[in-house]
């Protein structure tokens, strides 16, 4: 039995038709219904459907079907996504293992943290990526979606955490030290991962005619680095990644995810990133608080659709009213952003997010999520 036999079809003419029109509205200035809610739901969708976190990652087609199906329950985005934070590293030699309560994690660094240790490290070419594991995984996944959930298909290529994934190759603590002591080697590591990711986007866009790009600055945040290093290793590499992907036919949709604490480093992204007509920018935290929508709007509304942040900690707290109130604050501050606004969480909503809290976000969007004066 295929996974598609486990799920009824979405309400295509009712819920999906309305959600699709709403989803497009911030990008084409054709305001409809209300501001959208995107809690960045991943394995939480599997949990809602009675499966496990491990199922979500070990069985990508099942995982993405859960995402597509459960979005209707909370009136979320009408499109599907499925990912974990370490694409392309298997092709670079790492081994990932599945866990019961986590996304796939590496078994450990594979290179000695020395110049000799990474002497032979080179980007993986497109032809070799086609024979690897990441591209076949995503080809199979999107083929499944095309066949069974075509109304939700958005082919996505992930650069994801360009710095964090590179750091795993020699160990995160060694990489952080290298940024101070051996910056040339640190750059070589990141550049290798970036070029490999660009070749991956090339392969995805070859097959699907386009590829949305999701790329973040996760390890490169203010808890670890100063603004200068976030700019050097995070923002500039992200800008290069998107520029090169566009030159190979990927895009035009981009999702920038500035994860963790970007207390002051949020300022280094505006002038270093590539902004396309369909770009969403999302920032997790400013210090210990969820990033203020007012500031997000002030910094980025001229160039992108802004996605506000409700702290993920609230999502596992049995207090839907607290989620509702925080969502309301977020919406009131961000809803008149020039190029549209989306209500989100500070990162992926936790796997055991309480359903009542998701409903609270959607309820707040219904109550306060109109576009300013509209």
């Amino acid at each position: 039995m295929g996974y598609e036999e486990l799920f009824p079809t979405n309400d295509l003419n009712g819920w999906h038709a309305n959600a699709a029109k709403r989803f497009a509205s911030p990008f084409v200035d054709n305001y409809h219904d209300r501001i959208d809610v995107d809690p960045i739901m991943l394995s939480n969708a599997a949990v809602h459907c009675g499966f496990t976190i491990r199922d979500f990652y070990e069985k990508p087609e099942l995982g993405i079907h859960c995402v597509g199906y459960i979005a209707e329950l909370f009136d979320l985005l009408p499109v599907t996504h499925w990912f974990f934070s370490l694409p392309w590293v298997r092709e670079l030699g790492m081994t990932l293992v599945y866990k019961d309560t986590l996304p796939p994690i590496p078994t450990g660094p594979i290179y000695e943290p020395t110049a000799e240790g990474i002497e032979n490290l080179k980007p993986i070419e497109k032809e070799d990526l086609l024979k690897g594991s990441t591209i076949p995984l995503f080809y199979n996944l999107y083929d499944y979606v095309q066949k069974n959930l075509p109304h939700t298909l958005v082919p996505i290529s992930y650069g994801f955490d360009l710095v964090g994934a590179s750091a795993e190759l020699i160990g995160v603590e060694n990489f952080i030290m290298w940024t101070f002591t051996e910056p040339d080697l640190a750059h070589k590591l990141v550049d290798t991962f970036v070029e490999t990711s660009i070749n991956g986007a090339d392969a995805l866009s070859d097959k699907y005619g386009m590829a949305m790009l999701i790329v973040g600055s996760v390890l490169a945040n203010n808890d670890i680095f100063a603004d200068e290093q976030v700019e050097e290793y995070g923002a500039k590499k992200m800008g290069h990644y998107v520029d090169q992907c566009f030159r190979k036919g990927a895009g035009p949709q981009i999702f920038y995810h500035l994860c963790g604490n970007h207390e002051t480093s949020y300022k280094v992204f505006r002038n270093n990133l590539v902004w396309s007509p369909f770009t969403v920018i999302h920032v997790g935290y400013k210090g210990r608080i969820d990033f203020p929508s007012e500031l997000l709007k002030q910094e980025f509304q001229d160039v992108a659709t802004c996605m506000g942040s409700v702290d993920t900690k609230l999502m596992i707290n049995p207090n839907p009213k607290a989620v509702y109130e925080r969502s309301k604050e977020c919406l009131l501050a961000g809803r008149d952003a020039k190029k549209g606004f989306i209500l989100g969480n500070t990162c992926e909503t936790p796997p055991y997010t309480i359903p009542g809290n998701l409903l609270a976000m959607t309820r707040a969007a219904r109550d306060f999520g109109t576009y300013g004066t509209w």
């Binding site: 200035d29 902004w275 007509p277």
Partner: protein, 146 residues
């Protein structure tokens, strides 16, 4: 002026429905309203609802068109100005920078990565972008605004 077209330019003109005469007129009438980088030039002209570009090189009246392309999105204001792109604007000999420019289509205004010359306020879009991301964006606008 002898103008010949590369195979790549001919192929894209066929895909986009651009006419050789129009591309020739863009080149012949550009004057100083074009940018240059070494022996390469880019000139543009709004024809109907399209912004059409000729990317060409050559001297002594022998011109080769390397690329001919277009986009439906209308160029509006410069949004961001970045580092030097290596191009210069013939009209004022100022450096052309990497940047972002607002584009308008079907009533919506969104930014895209461009080449910009801030003093004149002029912007240009390169072929890879016009044929790739901007073409896809136009399709999405048409689909989503419908």
């Amino acid at each position: 002026m002898a103008i010949t077209f590369s195979d790549a330019a001919k192929k894209n003109m066929e895909v986009k429905g651009l006419k050789e005469d129009d591309i020739k007129k863009i080149i012949e009438s550009a004057g100083t309203d074009r940018i240059f980088n070494g022996e390469r030039f880019i000139a543009k002209k709004v024809i109907g609802d399209l912004t059409v570009y000729a990317d060409y090189s050559g001297k002594d009246g022998n011109i080769t068109v390397n690329g001919a392309y277009c986009h439906k999105l209308s160029i509006r204001d410069i949004v961001l100005t970045g580092e030097d792109s290596g191009w210069k604007y013939c009209k004022n000999n100022k450096p052309v920078m990497k940047g972002h420019t607002d584009l308008e289509y079907m009533g919506a205004v969104r930014s895209g990565p461009s080449l910009v010359e801030p003093e004149s306020g002029e912007s240009w879009f390169e072929e890879y972008l016009a044929n790739g991301a901007l073409t896809t964006a136009e399709g999405l606008f048409e689909q989503k605004r419908a």
